[in-house]
């Protein structure tokens, strides 16, 4: 039972309506000296004591006083022994609880011993209860203090966690921004690399073109030097029946032993065939092979062929790829010095 339940039981206790078990539960609490319960109980008992005043008053029979006074007179002084009450049969309810042992009451030695033991027991019980209550209060205070401290610590930790979460959120947003920036840079870089690849390709193409142009320029320079030489001989070749519109020029410099051969309108070559130029003395000597350009132009530079200086007749025949030591195919061009 808690204190509230004890308090609720007090009015029932005062009017005698509690069950025995309930009384037995309440009375030890009253023994602990609970001030508020004692104060309330005193008032409820006084209320109970006032109830008979609500009844229509009836005087006792007139003879009763005489009977009582006679009995008192015969029984002399008030009895200080417990004998009458002790031997009294029948149940005793609240009435005996209203009495308290009094100091001017002189008990028998045996009873005194019993009473002293009883009082000592009750006192020790009350003391132990008081001590227990004090200890429990102390423990409760300690627990409450600890609880407060722990609550404060918890609040501090919660605050720190909140701060760190905020910081973390800030860092995360910064990181997101950086990742965004990085992706942008990566995209830009990819674009730049693509551009650079294109540029590199362009440069390579232009270098290739430059090489071709340089080569062509070198050839032109060579030809222009060649044509300025006074000893250069020019031989014209005409197309045979196989290539009536075709023609060719052979420029030959005996000093440098170098020759340039230009052919035009040559029929396009079939696969695995080549044209071969012959210098004819007693018998034909190969001066080299050539193929046709898309514009049906052909060019051949001839070097270190001594027979050219003595040859008076030139011809071009169609030969298998790689050429032959002697002409085997049809003659396409013929010319004479």
């Amino acid at each position: 039972m808690g204190h509230e339940q004890f308090e609720e039981a007090l009015p029932l206790y005062a009017i005698g309506a509690l069950e025995r078990a309930e009384r037995q539960a309440l009375e030890p609490h009253l023994l602990t000296g609970c001030a508020s319960c004692h104060a309330a109980l005193k008032q409820y008992r006084a209320v109970a004591g006032l109830l008979p005043y609500g009844l229509p008053l009836t005087d006792a029979p007139p003879t009763l006083k005489a009977r009582v006074m006679a009995a008192v007179a015969h029984g002399s002084t008030p009895d200080n022994s417990q004998a009458t009450l002790q031997s009294r049969p029948g149940p005793e309810r609240s009435a005996s609880r209203f009495f308290w042992p009094s100091l001017n009451w002189a008990p028998s030695p045996d009873f005194a011993l019993l009473l002293v033991l009883l009082l000592a027991g009750t006192g020790m019980y009350a003391l132990s209860v008081k001590w227990q209550i004090a200890t429990e209060m102390e423990q409760r205070q300690r627990v409450e203090t600890t609880l407060q401290e722990e609550s404060a610590r918890l609040a501090l930790l919660q605050r720190r966690i909140a701060e760190q979460e905020q910081t973390l959120a800030g860092l995360r947003s910064q990181l997101d921004q950086k990742v965004g920036d990085l992706n942008e840079v990566r995209n830009t870089l990819t674009h730049r690399e693509a551009e650079m690849g294109q540029l590199r390709k362009l440069v390579a193409q232009q270098e290739q073109e430059a090489t071709i142009l340089r080569k062509a320029l070198a050839q032109r320079d060579e030809i222009s030097v060649f044509l300025r030489s006074p000893s250069v001989k020019v031989i014209s070749l005409a197309g045979s029946a196989a290539a009536k519109s075709a023609g060719a020029l052979l420029l030959y410099d005996p000093d440098s032993k170098k020759a340039f051969f230009y052919a035009f309108n040559m029929p396009p070559l079939v696969e695995r065939k080549t044209y071969q130029l012959w210098a004819i003395l007693d018998k034909p000597v190969s001066a080299g092979t050539f193929t046709t350009d898309p514009g049906h132009k052909s060019r051949l530079v001839i070097r270190n062929i001594p027979e050219l200086a003595r040859a008076t007749k030139f011809a071009v025949s169609l030969e298998p790829e790689g050429g032959r030591p002697q002409p085997t195919g049809e003659i396409y061009l013929v010319g004479q010095l």
């Binding site: 609720e8 009015p11 029932l12 005062a14 009017i15 005698g16 309506a17 509690l18 069950e19 005193k42 008032q43 409820y44 008992r45 006084a46 209320v47 109970a48 004591g49 006032l50 109830l51 008979p52 005043y53 609500g54 009844l55 229509p56 008053l57 009836t58 005087d59 006792a60 029979p61 009763l64 006083k65 009977r67 009582v68 006074m69 009995a71 008192v72 007179a73 029984g75 002399s76 002084t77 008030p78 009895d79 200080n80 009458t84 009450l85 029948g90 149940p91 005793e92 309810r93 609240s94 009435a95 005996s96 209203f98 009495f99 308290w100 042992p101 009094s102 001017n104 009451w105």
Partner: protein, 195 residues
């Protein structure tokens, strides 16, 4: 409301009991005069029988004479002590009568005609407690009937709340609440004469 010492049964001076304790028969007679009507009324209300009530009263006064030293003023007024003792003895008798096979008396209306009051109460007690009676009667009349009934069953028939619930065929909690409320209201209404 003021009750001067030794005026009216409610304000019997504890000093009177101290004199009784010394064997002062005059003081004892005075105590009887102040309290007998009230105590007889109470015993009669419980037992419904004048003879039995008178027997109980005689027992009570002899016990008072013998045990007066056991009265503790800290526990309540002399009247409260006498009322408690009378109620207890009367209820004991009521219970032993029930065991012997007599019917329990439910209310004052069941009393035989012969037991009805046989005259006006003594002017001394009647006048002294007039204001207090009026106050208590008013407080009781103002209680809801069910609460008053529960209080009367507990007080005048010595029934526990369980027995009252069984008697009235009401839930236990209801009966407990009625008693608590009734007592609480009476305590508030009678506050001026409780200390």
């Amino acid at each position: 409301m003021e009750f001067p010492p030794r005026q009216g049964s409610w304000k019997i001076d504890p000093e009177l009991l101290a004199r009784v304790a010394t064997g002062d028969q005059q003081a004892f007679a005075e105590l009887y005069d102040w309290s007998s009507s009230l105590l007889f009324t109470l015993a009669l209300r419980i037992l419904g029988d004048r003879e039995e009530a008178a027997e109980v009263l005689q027992e009570v006064y002899l016990e008072v004479w013998r045990k007066v030293v056991r009265y503790n003023p800290a526990r309540g007024s002399p009247t409260a002590w006498l009322v408690t003792m009378t109620r207890s003895r009367a209820l004991d008798r009521l219970r032993s009568r029930a065991v012997r096979g007599y019917g329990m008396t439910d209310s004052i209306q069941n009393r035989p005609l012969a037991d009805l009051p046989d005259g006006n109460p003594s002017p001394l007690q009647a006048s002294a407690d007039l204001e207090l009676r009026a106050l208590v009667e008013k407080a009781l009349v103002e209680l809801p009937e069910a609460q008053r009934e529960a209080l009367e069953l507990a007080y005048y028939q010595g029934l526990s709340h369980t027995e009252i619930a069984a008697r009235l065929n009401e839930p236990l909690g209801t009966v407990k609440t009625r008693i608590q409320l009734g007592m609480s209201k009476l305590r508030a209404a009678l506050r001026s004469c409780l200390d």
